[in-house]
């Protein structure tokens, strides 16, 4: 394991220890563990695809917009079409992600701008599709969420999904040609291109995965909130990026990975949950969150591989 991962892991361990020590019954209760997992699952799933996007040195600022849109689409389709909703939402996620990738590679627009623009479009679409109001889930559609809501002790279906995705994407990153191309493009796009790798295809696929994981995260969100909300995504945007970066993935690309994102998500979750479990006054929470975010990055980012930070 490289230095970055070790550092991120130790940050998680320290946070965990501090929280567990300061209020053992509360923090370690199976109820709270369940809450932690709930919290972590959404962020992690949303951040999975983004990790690849950031690994190639790009960024996806449309996740917020996509979450808004997809929760609405999922609830609407679940209410009317039943199980097809899963397929439709996931497919749509993949396609819209791909559209981001195409705008980026074929129109040659920096991802920061392209996806930021797309985010506005998605947010508008969410409002139009929903008629500008949150949409509740029909009670009869509730049972269709069983695959995500069934419980085994504190563990829920959505947590298992997160684990499963972690496994799959870990393999994709480390042991498939695509994963290797991602690492190579992130480090040196030109050299990779000259090695005969289809660079654009790799990039487009990264964005498609980002859309896909946003769609999956929306489904999990709906399984928890039981509604589709055309404004739900906005607060997630920067948080999801933070989850990736706090784990030690460099925004300049080439460094980090899915394991880092897992740790990053845990850090964000532990901080968010811990502030209440430990009982920090609300007026100080934002300040403390800001400080911890920075300190976490200071600790987790492995600077031996990146010469410059911007």
């Amino acid at each position: 394991m490289d230095k970055g991962k070790l550092l991120a892991l130790s940050v998680v361990a320290v946070l965990f220890a501090v929280l567990a020590f300061s209020s053992p019954q509360a923090f370690l209760s199976s109820y709270n563990v369940g809450t932690l997992l709930d919290y972590a699952a959404t962020y992690f799933i949303a951040a999975i695809g983004l990790t690849f996007v950031i690994m190639i040195g790009s960024i996806d600022l449309s996740i917020g917009g996509m979450l808004s849109l997809f929760t609405v689409v999922f609830v609407l389709t679940l209410n009317s079409l039943g199980f097809w909703a899963y397929l439709i939402t996931i497919g749509l996620g993949f396609l819209l992600g791909m559209a981001n990738g195409l705008i980026f590679t074929k129109l040659k627009i920096p991802s920061f701008i392209g996806t930021f623009g797309a985010s506005g479009v998605f947010a508008s679409l969410a409002l139009i599709v929903s008629g500008g109001r949150p949409i509740g889930l029909h009670p009869q559609a509730l049972s269709l969420l069983k695959p995500l809501t069934f419980e085994l002790g504190p563990i829920k279906g959505s947590h298992l999904l997160a684990f499963l995705l972690f496994g799959i994407f870990f393999l994709i990153q480390n042991s498939t040609p695509f994963g290797k191309y991602v690492a190579a493009v992130g480090n040196s796009e030109r050299a990779t291109w000259l090695s005969g790798v289809r660079v654009d295809r790799t990039k487009i696929f990264c964005f498609a995965l980002s859309g896909l994981s946003a769609a999956l995260a929306s489904i999990v969100l709906v399984s928890r909130m039981l509604s589709g909300d055309p404004t739900i995504g906005t607060p997630y945007q920067l948080q999801v990026i933070a989850a990736v970066v706090v784990g030690g993935t460099a925004l300049t690309g080439g460094v980090g990975g899915i394991f880092n994102t897992l740790l990053g998500t845990l850090i964000i979750t532990l901080v968010g949950n811990g502030l209440y479990v430990v009982g920090i006054d609300v007026y100080y929470q934002m300040i403390i969150t800001g400080i911890i975010t920075m300190v976490a990055v200071i600790l987790t980012l492995d600077r031996t591989k990146i010469k410059v930070v911007k």
Partner: protein, 503 residues
């Protein structure tokens, strides 16, 4: 006489590598000191310590008799040490004059504002002096590799002159690798003239130049001092043997292993034209043939190769591979058709520097190493290890990052990559650029071996000697057209035979 610069017992280790072990050098006034050694001998590291990029683990530096601490590049500059790095250090997004004075703008400040007119005047003067016919307003990204190098040299010469010290020291780390004969001559004259005021340290693998230019030469071997020779003693053979530590084959280019190419044509160009670059080029390349493309920069040979590996497109003409007409739009397509390319700029174009050796070597063929959905890592390792042994790449294991390899070893990794991918046609732009004499020899052997196995190659060599020595056939280009075709299989032409077509 007192030395201007003395580096004493300098040691430096990187994780897993002892780069320098008690190395000492001295530089006197009015002197051009040569520094030679195999790839990875530690030349660049030693100079980077002098320039403040790295800090020595042990050892002392004296400037004009006084011990100094060089903690960062800023200190080095203040002490009158300039460096032309092996890797280019000009900023493409800025104009030439901005690059020339970067970090020294204060000189042009008039009441808080920079006097742009003055900067421009001064820049024009400097450029004239090194013989670059450019407007200082041009953006560096519009310049070619060579022009950039000259800008960098010009910058350091100017800096040295600005320094308020006696005999500032300029380090030139392989400055001539990308220059043409004419420029090199200009540069040498400039250096000789300047040494009245400036001392130089000159690093090169072109021993001929070293012998011609330097007053004294240090040889480094595996991070140790391996001799120092004065002008009187100097000879290419001496340096070569000191660097490598063994006698080299009498027959440098291994001409005896040269074979007649097969009948089969693998690549054929028909009437290819790209306006402004080359016109009406036709030739065919046979299996196992080594074809040299000669000509000055601007003769169109580089552009022609670009077209072949898919970087750009031509305006008209046809490419045929294995008897089929093809179109090549990207390196990926080129590769699928069996065409590989080795760039002269290996740091930026040849390697993914921050990935390990094995990932680099297997990058183009990774999709062939898949079982189920997953890549077989052992296979990646095995193949890489094989190539590393074969090419004698100096590294602890295939998982070493390419970033940490010396220039020559990086070059070998690039070659290994294409060897492994078993392309039919390999285009090599300056394959031995920046490679030491020993490794050069190994690369020549490799080229022979690849030819014996049926690979066809297009080579743009570092010198006429290299082109002639390696090739079965030589195509000379001038102003975008073929000016001469020479056979070199039966008997080798002399360099003078070539020159008439080049100029």
């Amino acid at each position: 006489m007192e030395p201007v610069l003395k580096m004493e017992n300098i040691s430096k280790a990187f994780p897993g590598v002892r780069a320098l072990e008690k190395v000492s050098i001295e530089v006197f006034p009015n002197e051009i000191v040569g520094l030679v050694g195999e790839n990875g001998a530690g030349k660049s590291t030693l100079m980077k310590i002098l320039a403040g990029v790295y800090r020595a683990d042990k050892g002392e530096i004296f400037l004009r008799g006084k011990k100094v601490e060089i903690k960062n590049p800023h200190d080095a500059r203040a002490l009158g040490i300039g460096m032309v790095f092996q890797e280019q250090a000009v900023l493409p997004n800025m104009r030439v004059y901005e690059n020339l004075f970067l970090g020294r703008e204060k000189i042009f400040a008039r009441r808080g504002a920079l006097d742009q007119k003055l900067m421009m005047q001064e820049a024009t003067k400097i450029l004239e002096e090194v013989g670059l016919e450019l407007s200082p307003q041009v953006y560096v990204h519009e310049l070619n590799f060579m022009e950039r190098q000259m800008v960098e040299i010009a910058r350091n010469i100017w800096l040295a002159r600005q320094a308020q010290v006696d005999y500032p020291t300029i380090v030139l780390d392989e400055p001539t690798t990308v220059l043409e004969e004419e420029e090199i001559e200009k540069l040498f004259n400039k250096l000789r003239e300047l040494k009245k005021r400036v001392s130089f340290i000159y690093i090169s693998h072109r021993l001929k130049e070293v012998v011609e230019l330097c007053d004294r030469v240090y040889v480094l071997k595996d991070g140790h001092n391996a001799g120092c020779f004065s002008r009187e003693e100097l000879s290419e053979e001496l340096l070569r043997s000191r660097m490598v530590g063994r006698e080299l084959h009498e027959e440098y280019y291994l001409a005896s292993r040269q074979r007649k190419p097969a009948e089969k044509v693998v690549l054929e160009l028909r009437n290819c034209t790209k306006k402004g670059a080359f016109y009406d080029i036709s030739f065919s390349l046979h299996q196992g043939e080594i074809l040299s493309l000669c000509g000055t920069v601007g003769s169109g040979k580089e552009e022609l190769c670009r077209v072949l590996y898919g970087e750009t497109k031509f305006d008209s003409g046809e490419i045929w591979i294995d008897g089929k007409r093809v179109s090549i739009n990207s390196p990926a397509q080129a590769f699928a058709l069996g065409v590989g390319y080795i760039s002269e700029d290996r740091r930026n174009e040849g390697l993914v520097l921050h990935l390990p050796i094995f990932e680099n070597i297997t990058l183009p063929i990774i999709h062939r190493l898949v079982r189920g959905f997953l890549v077989r890592r052992e296979e990646q390792f095995r193949l890489s290890q094989e190539m590393m042994n074969k090419l004698q790449i100096k590294a602890l294991s295939p998982s070493v990052l390419c970033f940490n390899l010396s220039g020559g070893n990086q070059q070998k990794v690039v070659i290994a990559k294409w060897l492994l991918s078993q392309v039919k046609v390999l285009i090599m732009s300056h394959p031995t650029r920046g490679v030491d004499v020993g490794a050069k020899h190994e690369i020549y052997a490799l080229i022979r071996e690849m030819a014996e196995n049926g690979m066809a190659m297009i080579i743009m060599g570092d010198s006429f000697e290299e082109d002639i020595g390696l090739a079965n056939r030589i195509i000379v280009m001038k102003d975008g057209r073929v000016s001469g075709v020479l056979d070199a299989t039966e008997s080798k032409p002399a360099p003078s035979d070539l020159i008439q077509y080049v100029v």
